[in-house]
Symmetry: C2
Subunit: 676 residues, 2 copies
Amino acid sequence: MRYGYAEGLGDPRLGALWRQLGHSEPVEGLAAVIAGVAAAPADLDPDRWLDLLNVPHDGELATRLRRLRDRAAIGDPGAAGDRAGRLAALRLELGRRQLAGFVVPRADEHQGEYVSARAQRLAWLTGFTGSAGLAFVLRDRAAIFVDGRYTLQVRAEAPAELFEFRHLVDEPHAEWLTAALPRGGRIGYDPWLHTADWVEKARTAIGPAGIDLIACEHNPIDQIWGDQPPPPLAPVVPHDLRFAGRSSADKCTELAQTLAARGVAAAVLTQPDSIAWLLNIRGGDVPHTPVPLAFAIALADGSVDLFVDRRKLLPATLAGFAGQVRVHPGEALGAALDGFGSSGARVLLDPTASAAWIFDRLHLAGALIVREADPCLLVKARKNPVELDGIRSAHRRDGIALVRFLRWLESQPPGGGLTEGEAAGRLLGLRREGDLFRDTSFETIAASGPNAAVVHYRVGPDGGRRLERGELFLLDSGAQYLDGTTDVTRTVAIGEPSAEMREHFTLVLKGHIALATVRFPQGTTGTHLDSLARRPLWQAGLDYDHGTGHGVGSYLSVHEGPQRISKMHNPVALQPGMILSNEPGYYKSGAYGIRIENLVAVEACREFSAPVRPMLSFETLTLVPIDRRLIVAERLDRAERDWLDDYHARVRRILTPRLDRATAAWLDQATRPLGS
Amino acid sequence: MRYGYAEGLGDPRLGALWRQLGHSEPVEGLAAVIAGVAAAPADLDPDRWLDLLNVPHDGELATRLRRLRDRAAIGDPGAAGDRAGRLAALRLELGRRQLAGFVVPRADEHQGEYVSARAQRLAWLTGFTGSAGLAFVLRDRAAIFVDGRYTLQVRAEAPAELFEFRHLVDEPHAEWLTAALPRGGRIGYDPWLHTADWVEKARTAIGPAGIDLIACEHNPIDQIWGDQPPPPLAPVVPHDLRFAGRSSADKCTELAQTLAARGVAAAVLTQPDSIAWLLNIRGGDVPHTPVPLAFAIALADGSVDLFVDRRKLLPATLAGFAGQVRVHPGEALGAALDGFGSSGARVLLDPTASAAWIFDRLHLAGALIVREADPCLLVKARKNPVELDGIRSAHRRDGIALVRFLRWLESQPPGGGLTEGEAAGRLLGLRREGDLFRDTSFETIAASGPNAAVVHYRVGPDGGRRLERGELFLLDSGAQYLDGTTDVTRTVAIGEPSAEMREHFTLVLKGHIALATVRFPQGTTGTHLDSLARRPLWQAGLDYDHGTGHGVGSYLSVHEGPQRISKMHNPVALQPGMILSNEPGYYKSGAYGIRIENLVAVEACREFSAPVRPMLSFETLTLVPIDRRLIVAERLDRAERDWLDDYHARVRRILTPRLDRATAAWLDQATRPLGS
């Protein structure tokens, strides 16, 4: 027991209350559950975890347990600490293991975008808290590799006397490693924290220089991180059929048919959102994405083996698994994989997303690995009609919150001292008032003036910059509702915008409209469509350095594959039901940033009758006015003006009946036709 | 001696004339040269081959040799013949070799688009003469696999009682093979006629079914094809520096630096246009593309080993090689590859374009093969300023021919009986009158009415369809000039076009203009730009089933990589100096076809000053009016109208001083501003 709360367990009154409720397990078992609950992100419902212990929310026991939980609260792994001491301890450990170095990624066993506190090894070791990065620690050198988003942040967070800073893409770590190490060097890695693809590529890159990658059974950081949080234990709840639209049994049956058609005995699922989708469950083990950390094996007979800490399953969740889903502890996964080896079975595994550990275990066991994309990805991406209805409904509520926020923002005196953080907090408060709200879908970007030119800006603990007159305020935010995930960006003028700001805003808007109105034949990918959103900027010699659109889940990840709209090659054709963002932008370094983001759903284009080829188009889902003060109406052609006026009329028509009179009057003004 | 001309060699007068000229070689050596010359496509200069023999063009010997050459003329391998007998002979040969089957591609040793008569094995065996296809001949079944362009043609040309017809993409031959053959089947292939990549992929596809691919040292078809033409012997001539713009020595030095930087000892060049570009030579061994069939090894010291039949090198060509290029017979290639093996050298080879034979030989010899794209590709694609000047000049002459043709065509009475073949012939005659004309750059597509909806339509030996009133005539043609390669498509109205034709022509034009006027940042690929040309059609529910643009060589192949503009993934960024076609279209099956094609060159965009990011744009090279009668002017926006009027004004300004008065007057009318 490394946690301070353990002492509270000795309280005899607690034990009495616990036994009074009919619990026969020893009271000490509570400690680990409470530690796991404390290692998960905060839940909007602060008492739901008590259901895991079958404890009523209103009794004395609950009060005492809450107190224990509060005492168990974990620290921020990225907070200030003795980095030099940690690095020295790691090097000592490497020496014991006869390793020349060790690689520390910002990843957990599931390779998702968000990770739990326990997996924040990179932040704990280096101080760097960005969402992507990699450190190589050698005996006498160490380097952190980050991409262009984080070149400034890494220097602010990690001590330069301990770490070199390198660019993840422009300065491949293979070159750094081969220059830093003699032949015969052995670099350790944790096979749970890298994909099979990553390990293969790294081996190919450094192998010729005589450097070997050694899989470490036990992560050396876990051995030196004294107060490392335990794996999170957020409650796993059923996702209601009125939101999911299809029963888990139905999904499992379809998946089983897919597997049988491919001649594979099973698929190993390692991505928590695939598992959550397939089993109609949700969790809360990582920030912003309502998934439980778990593994699963889907079999060709339609049944599923789920590998998860049973302590986080609510009784209703277990009841929902009846018959089809067998629950095993996480530690049983290895033995289950071995079983496929002894029968020489063909097993599907996604080498781009699955931990190398699983790949190696299957391979060593003798299974035939079929390297294909996670078979849930594409089905999950094509939302069913119930999910589409849900996302439309979520956008109505999200639109109300945004409209109320925009009206409030406009009522603030320009230059009146409002900070970015206060604005973001106000919006969160308004969203919370909506039905079915559960969480934000990512950390809000509330960026004023030059901060908005930093594409991945986040407000710091100081509350951020004040919104000043004559600036642009960029607000990129989203919510997790039980019936859908939202993501919207609006850029608004604070006071009077400059002519250049309006000019560039209008170019971004033209690109946004080009994408919103495009029709395209089946087989078209997001890579094909990306240039349509950029062309108005290109014609003016401008561009933006991010993708134009990402896939979005249904009360799941706000960044969901396999589809996307970007310059990067993506072979996945857009298909009806897929949800994507449409978010062109323009950023003037040191001055301002502009982005206009709506979510859209791919739909069959209804304008054409049978004889022509089947075409697809986008239905815009987001319902939030676009700042008319920033539009140069004369720069829009007739079709573009029509789109904007129609969009605003739709926003007004749908939201007005749901607004109070004053807000409705504001919306009426904000959405009036251009030129009126 | 399998050729009838051999008998002429006995003529004592011929021998006397031959010796009179001071030749010491026996007169019999002439036979093989003449056979090789006859196996090459016809040269615009019908006597140039006499220079290979050092024979004056005006003497009696020349007259007698010409007579021998005419007698040596080869037949068309695709012409009617005893297909059943040939197939039976092939099966007999397969039986002798204990092969279950043999694969016959439409390819030669260089995997180019055009092949010599000798390599027309597929046409000889099956009758199918399309430019892409593959036959599998088993003991009791045979199938031809062709793509969508050729599904009709293959049925018309190949006997259905002997061959099954399959789709190359939708019906993978691996599936057909594994269904047709039991485990243990051995399929022969000629390793000279398939790329290393093809063989690897085929092995992977059929291996699991227990079917093996066996490399055949001698092609069984060559053993049964009694009058198979010999390899072609078209004269190899120097390509003048005033056209090439850079000396071969300069190119070899740059290539050597590239090889040294990659740590490779040599690159094996197997693509004739790369070799022709590198050595500043041109040939005539295949139709339409002025290249000599040859192999080369470029060494990191800047020298080149050229493997070619020395008999086709003109003295001036040999003289140009001085010092830098060593000439070896083609048979010496294998031994040269072995040399890299014994030294364990790293050798660059393009597995997507090089014969498996070369790959295997290098591999077996022990060389380390670096699998990369042909290192000439990208440098060759970026035309130098002299080449760009040349291509502009070539387009002026090409424009004059086209304008004279269009005026002539308009003067023909609609419905007056003019055939597609006559129109194509007239254009060829006009092009021949221009300076530096050498050949057409591909077989002209002259398609009227419904024929134009067949994207790869070719006029048959009957002269094709008559041009009828109320139809569209689509003419896609190009020329090989010494200073550049052209490719242009115009669609013109014969009599009065329908409203629908004009509507669709205008949509195609809008797409053409969108691409012609786009500006784009460095790093943009053709895949990114493709949708811009399609969007106007997409909005109307239409599309076209071909790429939007292909690379074009400089007096080389009219289809040149690595760049292209299409839906297909292509990672190559467009770079200044690259030439591409811009050719959107629309095809209404059974009714009409529309295509508007100009060539464009990528250039640095000059509109922007330093502070914005570097942008690129296209310079339109083609100078031919676009049929105003087919444009619905009101459907164009202001910028589109401006582009068309500006383009027409430029065509008029550049061509008028070079035209006779009557043609100039016609051009004046054809290029007047819209609405005037």
